[in-house]
Symmetry: C2
Subunit: 248 residues, 2 copies
DNA sequence: ACAAAAGTGTTTTTTATACACCCATGC
DNA sequence: GCATGGGTGTATAAAAAACACTTTTGT
């Protein structure tokens, strides 16, 4: 029965063994040091093979009963204490051979990495040093060679951060409740670069959009005229949601 | 030794069992029927439990030695023949309990779905009917209830499609090599809705940007003045890459 | 001749850009 | 009083938006 035989073969081809995965989460956690105008990323020193003593993105493997996003929040909370943060899924890297453990220790198990991208407020972020693991904010302009494909993941996260700042109001998730317009401008300058509107125009545009409300409270930063504290008004922003809008 | 004991306990807490995963890929494949001004998505009828006889996104499980992206292309090629397409990773859905198979048949294995989003040219897309599996283009405005969390994935893909059209030149990946400005306009209208510039302004803006070159060739579509065929000039577009740019 | 589709032009309004300048404070 | 940072205004250029109009075809 050639027909039947053919079907069997086709079925066999269609049912090559499925890959078994362990799923890891790697976080690209950014912050902006406005005092020194630097964009920073959180790195930890690896304590085990592979890539022992390499800097890497803080990551973990997903446990039973834990959602991917839970794992992302867990590893973040293990490394850093923050009040405000913005976190979103970045990309899933899953080619075979991206993790050297696939060759040796395992029985054909693949390692897949779901990366998350986070932005936290530098001034209030508290690194959790456990006395063993090295942990540090690194300027993204002076990165060391990282473990695994983490340089690639980081580069992808950096691109996403810039895009998000340009098109979405994520800056306000990481600024304090109230902030000066200069705080906001500095944040944009540090991440995007100096190649956009000057402060005066930036200011005028943002204010005209109408979702920044002046609290009337003034703060003085050393010399100079005191600045007004502004507040992001989520309700006033609502109409702009899902509309193309460029902040820079 | 209380110190050592404490360390042991901490280690135990930190090493709850890892989850074991099977990784699936689900494709949200869109096309635009310009003749009827409809946005379509490709659905297949499930042939097995769970969700037997439910419509679902075309998907597959990742096999040994296969990258995630390879699996996405494989399942796409199994269902449809196309010349041009745009494909990118969408999102990874991985909460526990998103797949009912986790409860019964498996030994604690989790199912994770890496979704991909694709845009293909409707006119030249050829569905591959194998005589068994139902397969169809569904208008996104009249979707049935889908298997798993596929309605959610689809909604997410739809949002991404709109954003991509607004900010990126993906329309040209799915239009034929040469196209009329009206073809382009229809594509935008169908996906985004009628709420953007009229044809005249759309046209003026796109032409001024300078990355559409007139081939000089004219085509006639029934009555009316013949239209010029244009061509996307990737080189002329290069300077706009990575710059905020809004097409609509 | 006339409807239909393509393409051009014009007018008005809104934004962007580049500045110059005024304001309030610390020292 | 003057340097410093905050804030306002203005002149010019560019772009968006609305819409009227011309051109070229099929019937």
């Amino acid at each position: 029965m050639p027909g039947r035989n053919h079907k069997k073969i086709a079925a066999a081809v269609n049912q090559q063994p499925l890959a078994d995965f362990k799923v890891g989460v790697d976080n690209v956690i950014f912050s902006v040091d406005t005092a020194q105008n630097r964009l920073l990323v959180l790195l930890v020193m690896r304590q085990q093979e592979p890539f022992l003593n390499y800097w890497s993105l803080p990551g973990t493997l997903v446990r039973q009963g834990e959602s991917i996003e839970d794992a992302a929040y867990r590893i973040l909370a293990e490394k850093i204490r923050v009040k405000n943060l913005y976190l979103e899924q970045l990309y899933t890297f899953g080619g075979p051979k991206r993790d050297p453990r696939e060759d040796c220790e395992s029985y054909g198990v693949r390692y897949l990495s779901v990366s998350y991208f986070a932005l936290v407020r530098f001034e209030e972020a508290e690194l959790i040093a456990d006395g063993v693991t090295g942990i540090a904010w690194y300027p993204v302009k002076q990165l060391p060679q990282l473990a695994f494909d983490h340089n690639q993941i980081l580069a992808y996260g950096h691109r996403r951060l810039r895009n998000k700042l340009e098109y979405s109001p994520i800056a306000f998730e990481v600024l304090p409740e109230t902030f000066t317009l200069n705080d906001l401008y500095q944040l944009y300058t540090t991440v995007i670069g100096e190649h956009f509107s000057d402060y005066s125009n930036f200011r005028a545009r943002l204010l005209k959009l109408g979702f920044l409300s002046d609290t009337g409270i003034k703060v003085s930063r050393g010399a100079g005229r005191p600045a007004s504290l502004y507040k992001f008004d989520a309700e006033a922003f609502a109409p702009f949601k899902d509309k193309p809008l460029v902040f820079i």
